[in-house]
C-alpha cells in the first residue's frame, strides 16, 4: 500500500516536471520560483526542528553500555564506547557520524529449531548505508562545479578521484554506480524481508524512491541524453548569485532532476530525513556517561518541601516518647 502510493507520487512528480519543462509558463516556476522557495523552507524548517528539539531537557546521561564504564583504576574503561569525558564523546560522535558505528553492531535475530534464538552477523545494512551516504556527499560536492565560478581545489580533487577509472567519455563516476547500487539494496531490503515490509511506511519508501529518481535522472543526463552543461552552469550560477535567469535549451530531463531535488528538499525538514541534524542531538551518543561522577539536576524538578526524619522527631518527639516509641536522638 505504502509502496504503491509512494511509487505513484514519484512517477507523477516526474510526469509533472517533464510536462512542465516544455511550457514557457512553467519554466520559471520549476527553475526559479520553486528552488528559492525550497531553499527558504529547507533552511527555516531545519532550524525550527532543531530549536524544537532543543526545548526538551536531557538531564540524565543515558548509558547505552557497549563497553566498561570508567570505574576503579584496575578496571580498564572503554573510552570510546562508554566515554567519561568530552574528548571521548567527540570520538564517539565522530565514529557515529562518519562511520555509523552503532549500525555496525546491527545483528540479525533468528528463531531456530529447538527453539533456539540465535544472533547472526548482519553488516549489509551498515555497508549499504555507509556507501549510500558517502556517495551522496561526494555527488553533492561534485555538483558545486555548477554553482560557483572559480572551482575550488576540493571540488576538483573530488571529481578527479571519483572519475579516476577513466571509463568512457564522459568518464564514469564511481559514486554514481555505488549510489544506485546502495539505494537499490536499501529499497529492495524493505520489500523482500517480510518483517521489514511489515514495518515500512510510505515515509520510508518515498525518500528512497525520490533519491533513486534523482540518481536516474542525473545519470541519464550524464551518460545518455546529454544536456548542455554550459547552459546549466550559467543557470546555476545565476541562481546562486540571486539574479536568476531561466535556462534555455536544456532538456526536459534537467527539469525532472531539478524538480525531484526540489521536492526532496522541501520534504526534508518535515520527515525522517531530519536525522541529518538529529544524529548530533542523540542523547545516547552525545553525553558522557558520568552519572556517578557528577550530579545532574533535573531542571523540571518540582520544588518539594522536604520534611526529614530528624525534623519529624523534633516536631513529634514528645508525643512519641509519651507513647513509648524509641527515639533516634536518645539512642546515640
Amino acid at each position: 500500500m505504502g509502496l504503491k502510493a509512494s511509487l505513484i507520487i514519484v512517477l507523477s512528480l516526474v510526469a509533472l516536471a517533464s510536462a512542465g519543462a516544455g511550457v514557457s509558463f512553467f519554466q520559471p516556476l520549476l527553475a526559479v520560483v520553486i528552488p528559492y522557495m525550497v531553499l527558504a523552507v529547507f533552511l527555516v524548517g531545519l532550524c525550527w526542528r532543531v530549536f524544537k528539539w532543543a526545548q526538551a531537557p536531557v538531564p540524565f546521561r543515558i548509558p547505552t553500555t557497549a563497553g566498561q564504564q570508567k570505574s576503579f583504576s584496575w578496571l580498564k574503561a572503554n573510552k570510546l564506547d562508554n566515554p567519561s569525558n568530552t574528548a571521548g564523546v567527540i570520538g564517539r560522535m565522530l565514529l557515529e557520524i562518519l562511520l555509523f558505528r552503532s549500525l555496525f553492531r546491527n545483528t540479525k535475530a533468528e528463531l531456530r529449531k529447538g527453539p533456539k534464538l540465535t544472533y547472526g552477523w548482519e553488516k549489509w545494512l551498515w555497508l549499504a548505508g555507509l556507501l549510500f551516504h558517502w556517495s551522496f556527499l561526494v555527488v553533492a560536492i561534485r555538483h558545486l562545479r555548477f554553482f560557483i565560478q572559480p572551482i575550488p581545489a576540493l571540488v576538483r580533487f573530488t571529481e578527479g578521484l571519483d572519475g579516476f577509472l577513466q571509463l568512457g567519455l564522459p568518464t564514469v563516476y564511481i559514486t554514481d554506480v555505488l549510489l544506485v547500487l546502495a539505494v537499490t539494496y536499501l529499497f529492495l531490503r524493505r520489500i523482500v524481508i517480510p518483517q521489514l515490509r511489515y514495518i515500512s511506511l510510505p515515509a520510508d519508501y518515498f525518500p528512497l524512491l525520490m533519491i533513486l529518481g534523482i540518481a536516474f535522472s542525473g545519470i541519464t543526463m550524464r551518460y545518455f541524453l546529454r544536456v548542455d552543461l554550459g547552459a546549466v552552469k550559467e543557470f546555476a550560477v545565476s541562481l546562486a548569485m540571486f539574479s536568476p535567469k531561466v535556462p534555455e535549451g536544456i532538456g526536459a530531463v534537467f527539469y525532472v532532476h531539478l524538480f525531484l531535488v526540489s521536492v526532496l528538499f522541501i520534504y526534508f525538514s518535515f520527515s525522517k530525513l531530519m536525522h541529518m541534524g538529529g544524529v548530533f542531538l542523540s542523547p545516547t551518543r552525545n553525553l558522557a556517561n558520568n552519572n556517578r561522577a557528577k550530579r545532574h539536576i533535573n531542571p523540571w524538578n518540582y520544588p518539594v518541601d522536604v520534611h526529614s526524619y530528624a525534623e519529624y522527631e523534633m516536631e513529634f518527639g514528645n508525643k512519641m516518647k509519651g507513647a513509648g516509641l524509641p527515639l533516634e536522638k536518645e539512642e546515640q
Binding site: 533552511l43 531545519l46 532550524c47 532543531v50 530549536f51 532543543a54 526545548q55 526538551a56 531537557p57 536531557v58 558545486l144 562545479r145 555548477f146 554553482f147 560557483i148 565560478q149 572559480p150 572551482i151 575550488p152 571540488v155 576538483r156 571529481e159 578527479g160 577513466q166 568512457g168 567519455l169 564522459p170 546529454r226 544536456v227 548542455d228 552543461l229 554550459g230 547552459a231 552552469k233 550559467e234 550560477v237 546562486a240 548569485m241 540571486f242 535549451g249 541534524g277 548530533f280 542531538l281 531542571p299
Partner: protein
C-alpha cells in the same frame, strides 16, 4: 532552550557550510563561461556551422569525439558524414582544430569553467596557437 551554547554555534556552522555556493562567488562579475568561438578560420567560412548542429555540439561533442576515435581505431574509417550529409575527415587535430584554432580560448576556457580536464593532449597535439 537547553544547551544553546552548543546547538546555536552548531546550527550557525551548518548554515555557513550549506550556503557556501551563495556566498563564495559574492561580488564576482566575471562571465561564467567566457569562451570565444570566433577565429579567423571560422570568419572565412561561408556557412558558420560546426560538424553537427550547435546544440548537439554543446551537449555532446565528447560523444562525437568518442565515436570518431572508435571509427578510426577500431574500424579504420576516416570519413564522417554528418546529419546534413556533409563529409568530414575524422581528425581531432586537422578537423576540429582546423576551424577552432583557438583551443585555449575556446575548448580550455569552457572546460575549466566546468572542471573538465580531458587528457587527450598527452598524445594528440594542440593547435600551434596554444603551444606557447
Amino acid at each position: 532552550m537547553y544547551d544553546a551554547g552548543k546547538i546555536i554555534p552548531g546550527l550557525i556552522i551548518f548554515l555557513i557550510l550549506i550556503t557556501f555556493p551563495l556566498w563564495y562567488s559574492l561580488g564576482q562579475s566575471a562571465p561564467v563561461l567566457g569562451y570565444q568561438v570566433e577565429t579567423p578560420e571560422i570568419e572565412q567560412l561561408e556557412e558558420k556551422e560546426c560538424v553537427e548542429s550547435v546544440s548537439y555540439m554543446r551537449a555532446s561533442h565528447m560523444r562525437l569525439l568518442d565515436d570518431w576515435r572508435n571509427e578510426v581505431v577500431r574500424n579504420s574509417r576516416r570519413t564522417y558524414i554528418n546529419n546534413a550529409g556533409k563529409t568530414y575527415e575524422i581528425s581531432l587535430e586537422a578537423t576540429c582544430f582546423g576551424c577552432h584554432t583557438n583551443k585555449a580560448d575556446f575548448c580550455d576556457t569552457c572546460h575549466s569553467s566546468l572542471n573538465v580536464e580531458p587528457d587527450c593532449w598527452n598524445c594528440h597535439s594542440e593547435p600551434k596557437e596554444s603551444q606557447l
